[in-house]
Amino acid sequence: MSQMASGAAVTTAIEAAYVAPRRGPRYSIPVIVLSAILLVLILPPTIFLIKVSIYTTRPDGAFGELTLKYYQQLFASRFFVSALVNTTIYSIGSAVIAIGLGTMQALIVERTNTPGRRWVLLGAIISLGIPGVLYTVSWLLILGRSGPLNSVIENITGVKAALNVYSMWGMTLIEGIHFVPLTYLMMSAVLRGTDASFEEASMMSGAKPLRTFWKITLRMGLPGVMALLLLVFIRAFESFEVPALVGLAGNINVLTTNIYQSSKGSGAMDYGQSGAYSVCLLVIVAGLLVWYSRLSKNAHQYQTITGKGYRPRVMNLGKWRYATSALLAVIFLLVTGLPLIMLVFTSLQPFYEGVTADSFRRFTLENYRVLLGPGSFRDSIWNTLVMGASVSTFVVPFTALCAWLAARRKPGGWVLDQIATAPLVFPAIVLSVAFLYVFVNLPIPLYGTLLSVILASSVRYMPYGMRYAYAGILQIHRELEDASSSSGAKQASTFMRIVLPLLAGSLVSAWLFIFLLSVQAVSLPLLLVGPGTEIVAVTLFDLWQNGQVTELASMGVVWVSLMVVVSAIFHVVTRRYQVMAG
């Protein structure tokens, strides 16, 4: 009897040992379905992009023979090398400007008792509501040939149009200043995440504040600064608005504008060349992003949020605090104040010819009257809102599910993470070109529709949704879900009843953030929209090309007012739910 029992026990043990390695399935149905959707969205543009660069294209659009001539042409041309050099100089320059100003702002706000430091956040909120095109245009108006700055210089020195903004320094300066709010927010997070007792320990060791700043604060923050520098570099590298509006007019070509020109040049579109350019840019950006992810891993190694007994250390600057206050005001003016003032001023002019004594006598609301009346502007606002809302509404729940499956290491979940993050390597203009090929070749007439923009934007912002949802899920303690499972809930109900409600704050933030980004992008919809599907940012871009400056300004003012409200809601939600997305 006992022998039999022990025999059975041994058999069970053997069985258990045999079965144990394959706990549960290797894949699950939701993972397969989600991966399939992602692949259907991402693979066609990628394949088309590569194919057009290595096949000749016949006049009817079909592919011809395999060739490397586009790449050979590319590497042989002077333009490619000069564009690469230009892009690099421009990106480094703007990264340095953005980091310099942003870090200075963050240090003053987080570590000193400067009066008015709380207002800096307001600047950041407003900035997030200004589309890149509009921002660039305002600066072009300020620094332009007949702009106020050149007028001042002319009055003093007598030199006409001393500053030429359509130049490398102009591009670098505008792009750099544009990134200041981003670098400020990220540096603030780094400073706040670092335990103040590291600095206190230094002071208690006898080091003065300045020495502590050099030996501890700066040294510990260095990896974070380096990672941020690279991030801004990448963003500038793939940026489009400033190079298109400033660089093209000044004959300074960078990689993104080369792609744009060969995709939308006069006459027939040069598929092969723009494909080859795009693939090159893609490879460079992918390499940079790999480097960035290594750097940023190191950047966070010193971040120890102990929570307990943590109090931020604020340095008393004494009389100097008014100097830092003034510095903050100057940065605010540069980043937010001047562009907005210029925009409002221009929108009140019947025609634009700079800031002169006469122009102050010509204020009129005519632009707004025309604008707000029936017409294409209302349509384009409506189109844009529908587009942004659709993109967010699709991306956010979709990535929440993907991120959950990935973060909780469900079978095959890591695949979802990889695929959904992959679009990050596509610069917007490259993705735009790639989708253009796809839509042109599709049997269904998608080209020129709002849906095409929605699809492309959804792919573009997928990684952002992933980031938010992933960070949000990591904040939810694993045991909260385990408790649901042990109460008898299936995975689906655990997700619906436990995960989603706890994730709500992060998801609302993500929705608003993706909305703001998608409605303000120019480069992505630029090649995709057609008549009747105008998008505000693209309309602004076109108005500038047509020289309709005052119409552009009034439209910009209305749009910014709308978006600042959205941005403010975003900040309130993010703060309320303490959403952290790195």
């Binding site: 335990d195 007792s197 590291f198 206190e200 320990a201 230094s202 002071m203 208690m204 060791s205 006898g206 080091a207 003065k208 504040p209 020495r211 030996k215 501890i216 040294r219 510990m220 190694q301 010193y302 120890t304 102990t306 307990k308 007994g309 250390r313």
Partner: protein, 369 residues
């Protein structure tokens, strides 16, 4: 050595109402003493420590270290923290991750402004202090490779390397697990004795405070409620708060029957009858007082033997918890009170027995209500 006089620091919450701090706390620490600030979280012990360190600026008060005034409220004189010659161990250790073990410990000597250390001298001093905390063999390692206990030792080495006048320890053991905590506690005490450094120790753990301190200051709601040696604090608590916070106790309320002088015996009429108590302070007749008696000081006797004596109450044993060297009894008195008694486990008392509990008058302490 260190004098803190009428220290006052109030924190404002965002809505403007006070959110803790310390309110006119005064004490003196002798040279070479291990002095502990003890209290529950939010009692102001860390605030006091940070004011001494110079990491917080008090609203009022005077702090004197070794005959030098380092903070003077009336004249607003503040010696900045980096000029105070005070070593501090932080709760999170604050070991700089971008430096080696050696560099962490050497930092206070490298940044010293009054004295320049030669390379040999610096190395000798750092080695000595690392040797003392048992980290000498790790000196070339990156600080990130240290365990929690090792980081704690390094933090101590860094605080001591320049032989400061005063050492401040802010809950240094709270992030360690129980076993390591006991070991580090002994080590801290050894090092403190060896170096003879005057030390202020902040903790919320009363057992830790009892084990390590020469004297303890108990804080509650920003006020110093009792100051004394561990024995005094335990044997003669002065308030209900101290009696309850330090160890376990039985407490009852009543009125003085007659005037009682400080240090004399007196009688209290209470919920459990008239009880003879020791009065550490003077109380007038009719005054409301409480009295406390520690569980291990109560003697248990069988209920059937002889007449009830003084200071004796009868009750039923509700439970007996066996703890090895000792047993804990919970005794129910007429269904109204619970009495906690600790006694030898071999006395034959079982749950359900009726027993008499004798409260020895010299161990029954009258305190302010």
């Amino acid at each position: 050595m260190l004098r803190v006089q009428d220290l006052f620091k109030r924190y404002q919450a965002q809505a403007g109402e006070p959110a803790g701090g310390v309110f006119t706390v005064s004490f003196e620490v002798q040279k070479g003493e291990m002095f502990t600030l003890l209290g529950p979280s939010g009692c102001g012990k860390t605030t006091t420590l940070r004011c001494i360190a110079g990491l917080e600026t008090p609203d009022q008060g005077v702090i004197t270290l070794d005959n030098e005034t380092i903070f003077d409220g009336p004249t607003d004189k503040i010696v900045p923290m980096y000029d105070r010659d005070i070593g501090m161990v932080f709760q999170s250790y604050a070991i700089w991750p971008h430096m080696t073990v050696f560099e962490n410990a050497a930092y206070p000597l490298r940044v010293a402004r009054k004295k320049k250390y030669s390379r040999e001298d610096l190395e000798k001093r750092v080695d000595r202090v690392l040797e003392m905390v048992g980290l000498l063999k790790f000196k070339r390692r990156s600080a990130t490779q240290l365990s929690g206990g090792q980081q704690q030792r390094l933090a101590l080495a860094r605080a001591l390397v320049r032989e400061p006048k005063l050492l401040l320890l802010d809950e240094p053991l709270s992030n360690l697990d129980a076993q390591l905590r006991e070991q580090m506690r002994a080590e801290l005490k050894r090092i403190q004795l060896e170096w003879g450094v005057t030390t202020i120790y902040v903790t919320h753990d009363q057992a830790e405070a009892m084990a390590i301190s020469d004297r303890i200051a108990v804080l509650d709601h920003g006020k110093l409620v009792q100051l004394g040696t561990p024995d005094e604090i335990y044997e003669l608590p002065r308030s209900e708060f101290v009696a309850n916070f330090i160890g376990r106790t039985n407490m009852f309320r009543g009125q003085c029957v007659n005037n009682a002088e400080a240090g004399a015996m007196g009688t209290v009429r209470s919920e459990i009858g008239e009880v003879r108590c020791h009065f550490p302070a003077r109380h007038g007749a009719g005054e409301n007082v409480s009295f406390v008696v520690r569980p291990e000081n109560i003697e248990l006797r069988e209920a059937s033997v002889g007449a009830m004596g003084d200071n004796t109450i009868e009750g039923k044993v509700m439970s007996r918890v066996y703890l090895g060297e000792i047993a804990e009894y919970s005794i129910d008195v007429d269904g109204k009170f619970q009495l906690l008694v600790r006694g030898a486990p071999g006395n034959g008392v079982k749950a359900g027995d009726r027993v008499r509990a004798y409260l020895p008058p010299e161990k029954t302490i009258a305190i302010f209500t």
